[in-house]
Assembly symmetry: C2
Homo-oligomer: 443 residues x 2
């Protein structure tokens, strides 16, 4: 009998670990794609793409004579060399190649270079070539940071006693209702693609008190804007036994602070590549919806057109004023009108036209919607009826209420929106590895 | 301006931390649902459900007189009390209630008790009442362990240099092809729900070398068996620069070992509740497909009906023999016939009728399919044509190959299957919070 040994698993080559462990004097074997070749006459610099960085390698002498004629950018190689200090190279290091094997060669050159800081073609072209465009250092850095955000979102919430859940993406009813939902045939029944894990995370508060989920959600919105995707990643949490909705805001503030601390610590190279300015979030200002509207109307001498909702332009202006007044890149806008919030939002007992809900704006864009939910069965049924909904369509959801739910609330964060504003982009599709919009389903 | 302070976020009450910090002598404030009431005449035991455990509380004296008449199971309460040793209680502890507030009361009693070790009704009934059935301790423990598996899958792979990716679930082509795919209208185009992140994780090997994803996948399979779900969670990884496919097996072995170590360490209570026997996986035996078939035929005096695939019964028997011979709960079955493997599987150079692929069986069930992929563009195009596929239907996928890919491979693990076998169940739906099968789309 043959055996596979646990010990045989090999971690990826990590430049930092190598330097710490060996002091950099031992020969090292590493592998990667040749990101860029710079010919210098009788030798070449090879920039080799490692999982999280790029290392400059020097191909010279016999190895140069042997390999250079057959070498192309995007060849994959394994090489042995000695790393030494070289202040003009990235990380102040370069690797002098002693031996090299070419593992694979591309069948065709790239349609555009990916090894410059900027990618040449326009966004639409880039997206068509996304599998290779993502090899660019800026693009790689974006999704490394995005992975870091998700990782720390989860790790922080785990320290706060949250349990990770997995809700189904195929559902029989939709949380938000309306036309913005994809539907499909499910063995003769009509199924909807999840617009959010809303119902499920609320149900699971009855099970674990505090839950979170990171998952795909789907919106069949027919508008093609710079801040909408038809499939995106939602960071959701829901927590029971809250005193009021500011408990949710505090948890989000602490989570964001922890995420940015983590990025600062663990993604320094990516942060530098992207020239990201990480916001400070030890505290976040909070303003009521009505006051925010009035503040903007007053400051910018604007008329209030829609008293029940914020226009995108108003979100930008609120952020601008708050930034000037407090220095904060974030602002909570609270107490949204009940007419614009879903049936599960708890009304403000002091003014039932308002809800105990909030949005979080980040640099001019709403990245979070949240609030306290109704936990009492009768109150929930009454509000459904009030909103013209049929409680019998929401039997499973109401089951949790019927059999006892604590006061609770939660929120959802659009991952790509958070990234878009963090990266300083004006186009959300840059923050999705393979974005889905009305015109794009491929790659 | 009001502010939300980072410091205001409150971690959940954790019994273990409390005992470590205070030695258990200070009064404690905690909250939870009343899982069970045991009336003892002039006092009551309240079993209170905390996020990760249950604590026995004693309601006596004035608090008993005041609250007992209005108290029901599944009431949510906040209480202050003093924790003291009581060896007959769970954890050897009980909390003597000094003060209590009832935060909410259920509108109706539960349709069946959830506070016994076993849930009364049959599975179909339970699934219909899943939002409340999950409040049962056995059910809570299952999905805490499941969350722990996913967490350590990610954490372990991160230590090995893997980057987390997010592939789209709405796709224009399907990886496995065939009829087992859900389709829907996507703004006038036909979209498919992801059967796997296969194409995307391969593309991303060209970007980050090693990637993983935990995500929902969808199979429109028309058979209703004890080991199939129509929506499930796939744990995928893909790694570049492998020497051969046993590198993948070694990484999986090390990952599983790390996951079970973590469960042993961090989920002792859940492991005990579920009476789970955690397998030892320092090494996993490996056997070729042909030899496995012959071994079973010989040992059990069976005829080989289908020489190209394993029947479920054969998977069980292989596991049984290997368990007897080696003591291992796992076995890799390698070198599957090319006729039953997809177009991206690399053929065995020593016998092109076989592939450099494998399944991992766990206690009689296939929980993983993996293998080395073709990385050469021409070889991939040729195999597509050989399999009767049109390369122009896979343009985005082939783009990665065309512009250079390292030797690579990967695998996918069915999370619910792994859990099912770990928990000793004969029915996979117990391992999905809200399972989806041909007849069930709700809750």
């Amino acid at each position: 009998m043959e055996y596979i040994e646990r010990e045989k698993a090999r971690p990826a080559f990590c430049l930092k670990d190598y330097l710490i462990q060996s002091g950099g004097s031992d020969p090292v074997t590493l592998h990667g794609a040749i990101h860029r070749i710079r010919d210098m006459g009788h030798f070449s610099f090879l920039l080799v793409r490692l999982p999280d960085t790029i290392i400059q390698c020097v191909l010279e002498g016999q190895a140069y004579e042997k390999h250079r004629p057959h070498l192309h950018e995007e060849c994959c190689v394994r090489l042995t060399g000695v790393i030494s200090a070289e202040e003009r190279a990235p990380h102040g290091l370069e690797c002098h190649i002693q031996d090299m094997v070419v593992l694979s060669s591309p069948a065709a050159p790239l349609p555009f270079p990916v090894n410059r800081h900027k990618i040449g073609p326009a966004l639409e072209t880039e997206l068509g070539y996304r599998p290779i465009a993502l090899r660019n250092s800026d693009r790689r850095a974006r999704f490394r940071v995005q992975a870091g955000i998700v990782q720390q979102f989860r790790n922080f919430l785990q320290t706060q006693g949250f349990t990770e859940i997995r809700s189904p993406k195929l559902q029989s009813a939709s949380a938000e209702g309306g036309a913005n939902v994809f539907s499909l045939d499910y063995f003769g029944k009509k199924a909807y693609l999840a617009q959010s894990p809303q119902f499920y995370k609320q149900m699971m508060v009855g099970v674990y008190e505090r839950v979170f989920e990171v998952g795909s959600v789907f919106r069949a919105e027919r508008h093609q804007t710079a801040r909408h995707l038809n499939e995106y990643v939602s960071l959701d949490f829901e927590m029971g036994y809250i005193d009021d909705f500011t408990d949710l805001c505090a948890m989000e503030t602490a989570m964001l602070a922890s995420v940015f601390d983590y990025l600062r610590q663990s993604f320094a190279e990516e942060i530098q590549t992207l020239k990201v300015s990480l916001p400070s979030v030890d505290r976040i200002p909070s303003i009521r919806f009505v006051e925010a509207k009035e503040l903007v109307a007053r400051t910018y001498n604007r008329k209030i057109k829609d008293p029940h909702d914020l226009e995108p332009e108003e979100e930008r202006l609120i952020s601008d004023v708050i930034k000037r007044q407090t220095g904060s890149d974030f602002v909570f806008v609270t107490h949204y009108p009940a007419s614009k919030r879903p049936f599960y939002a708890m009304n403000d007992p002091e003014n039932p036209k308002l809800t105990l809900s909030f949005d979080l704006l980040f640099r001019g864009l709403e990245i979070t919607t949240g609030g306290q939910r109704i936990h009492d069965y009768d109150e929930q049924v009454a509000k459904m009826v009030d909103k013209g909904l049929a409680p019998e369509d929401f039997k499973s959801y109401l089951m949790a209420h019927r059999h006892g739910m604590p006061p609770h609330g939660g929120l959802g964060i659009g991952l790509e929106r958070l990234c878009m504003k963090l990266f300083g982009d004006s186009q959300i599709r840059l923050s999705s590895m393979f974005p889905r919009d009305m015109g794009r389903l491929d790659p």
